[in-house]
């Protein structure tokens, strides 16, 4: 058992139990153990007893901020779309937040999707989450039947094998290039502060693709997305995607074809990435959840790199900084205009 994470788990349980018992919050978004080895299920705790099931470990790969806006809305008294919000305080929601998750909460605040006074953030430093695919390739795709976590290793076993793997060898790529492992917003701290990671190059994959010729880049992109089944898990798991109807779902007008024509799949991926420009926190959820193993995060990373170059800002890190793509300034770079 990882000492560090079990201590954080203990602290989360007791804090959330207290908050729910005192009815300070109506619900808490965290994680419980999943039914498969190395999985954690995002979970909404609604009673003090629920709090006892919460866990924190290196398998919490889904960014819980995605649940926040709809959950807050669902706790408001029912009313017609045009009716004003009722007077008085509305129920609050608690949420667990690491560095990147808190940055997404910060963006939801800046974009007016949630109200600060209704959110109680339990912040924790994050040492990175595990990439199941990396583990899978180390053990040659054999099926893992049991796994447990130590502080710096995970131990996995199955039919005829048992191995210990160093955590640093199987952390997700986005975690390896994380610039902000500690929460930027926090009402209560659980666990300790973690040291910043040493990141020499934040965009190794983007650099690799940028160095290719135009044709090769296109070839990479087409190959990368060719097995996409348009399940939209990458979109639905992203805390930035909250439009009531996504452009890919509209049918009148039909902006994008609905099946698997490469042109349509390309448009979906390009536009999804652009809609995240200057907002993506590199939390890695999209890439992690893709059932087909598509590395679409390279696209948002490229845009993150561009936004840093053009506007010098970083999504969600400074909650007072203006949002780069919705704020006009006369000094904005315009050299890309024709």
């Amino acid at each position: 058992m990882s000492q560090i994470n079990s201590k954080i788990t203990e602290e989360i349980r007791s804090k959330v139990k207290a908050l729910l018992s005192a009815e300070e919050i109506a619900a808490f978004v965290g994680f419980i153990d999943g039914t498969l080895p190395m999985t954690a299920r995002p979970f909404t705790a609604r009673s003090p007893e629920d709090a006892d099931r919460l866990v924190f470990n290196s398998f919490c790969v889904v960014n819980p901020a995605v649940y926040l806006p709809p959950l807050l809305k669902s706790l408001e008294p029912p009313r017609r779309p045009t009716d004003p919000l009722p007077e008085g305080p509305l129920p609050k929601v608690g949420i667990l937040a690491t560095g990147c998750w808190s940055r997404n909460i910060s963006i939801q605040l800046q974009e007016n999707q949630i109200a600060r006074e209704r959110v109680v953030v339990l912040g924790t430093g994050c040492r990175g989450m595990v990439d199941m695919r990396k583990v899978g390739s180390i053990i040659d795709g054999r099926e893992i039947e049991k796994a447990y976590e130590l502080d710096d290793r995970i131990s996995v076993s199955g039919k005829g094998f048992s191995e210990e793997i160093l955590l640093e060898d199987v952390l997700r790529d986005n975690c390896l290039t994380c610039i902000c492992p500690n929460p930027v917003i926090m009402d209560h701290r659980v666990g300790g502060q973690v040291p910043d990671r040493r990141v020499d190059n934040r965009f190794p994959f983007v650099d690799e693709i940028e160095s290719k010729s135009l044709d090769k880049r296109w070839e990479w992109f087409q190959n990368e997305i060719s097995s996409c089944i348009r399940c939209y898990a990458c979109r639905n798991v992203c805390p930035l995607c909250y439009c009531p109807t996504c452009f890919v779902d509209d049918s009148r007008p039909q902006w994008v074809g609905k099946s698997l024509d490469p042109a349509d799949t390309s448009i979906f991926h390009i536009l999804r990435a652009f809609h995240c420009a200057g907002r993506c926190t590199n939390c890695g959820s999209c890439e992690t959840v893709c059932p087909m193993g598509i590395n679409m995060r390279v696209l948002t990373s490229k845009l993150t790199k561009d936004v840093i170059d053009l506007y010098g800002t970083e999504a969600g890190v400074d909650s007072d900084a203006p949002l780069p793509l919705t704020t006009y300034s006369e000094t904005d770079r315009q050299d890309f205009m024709v």
């Binding site: 979970f43 099946s259 698997l260 087909m292």
Partner: protein, 345 residues
Amino acid sequence: MNKIYGLERADLEKWLSRWSEKSTVYCPDEGDGRGPASFSGWKVWAGDVLPEIKPGPAKCSIKTFYFPQPESLHTFSTASDDPDAFLLMEAERDRSANVLVGLRPCDARAVYLNGLPYSKDPYFQHRDSRTTLVGFSCLEQCSTCFCQEVGGSPFDTHRLDIAITEIKGRFIAEVLSERGEALVDGAGGAGPASDKEIAELDRLKNEAKVLKSDSGENLKAKELMALYNAGFWDSVADSCLNCGACTFLCPTCYCFDIQDEVVGNKGRRIRYWDSCMFPLYSQHASGHNPRGMKMQRVRNRFMHKLKYFPDRFGPLSCVGCGRCIRECPVNIDIREVLKDLLGVE
């Protein structure tokens, strides 16, 4: 009594060669996890060796074959000078005969189950009538396989034309249908399985049968509204993202939507995969959505498979392949839901 043959690997490969003279033979292919091959999960047999058939079901189900994404139903012209403009013409159909080798019993069972609601669907039936299924029984199950709990078995033969079981390096092929017989008759070269092999096959089958449970009958006996109003749906829905990973990978999810696509002055009416997890799936033209809340959609996915379908057609509409369990981003596990439903009084 079914004819049972015993084959060496080379004999089986010879069969495949003979079959590919008259039909297109497909084998499972997961490739390197990238590219169209890994999406469809099938590749045309290259005429060399039988690829390794890994334990458990392939990532993408046989649905990619039976419900092409998309399927052209009709074509039409939009040219103003065309006298037939906007007249729907029957789309060209695939006339080839296909043999699918190496699918697992759960996928074949899915074809049988989908055939119940699609019994009058000309597209499905056309494809099915031209497809011969040669399955491999499962001597090893994955931890997410639960076919026995939903009416199947590692040796299930529903819809299979030939079922092959590997016993001590030899392939024991059970011919189950006329279509299977036609394949084997023309191929020659294989002798009957020995009595010992047949006895071993029976032993394996019986062993698998013992595990069978009757969740389907149990659920059919339960009152629909009690299941519908059960308390646990909210908590399942709390975690769900309403994406399409589960339904798109599921071999028994067969829902589709239809739209017209026009390029230049040529149009086609296609049907393509839809998912009851998507809000638009049930949205009415008026704007009203009878399943407007996430919980209602989550409930529908499970109720359809585990209650509405069996009430209407008999068996459960889940073959226990476990794909949805493996690939759900948030670990929603149909085995838990099944257990919860069975616990409803």
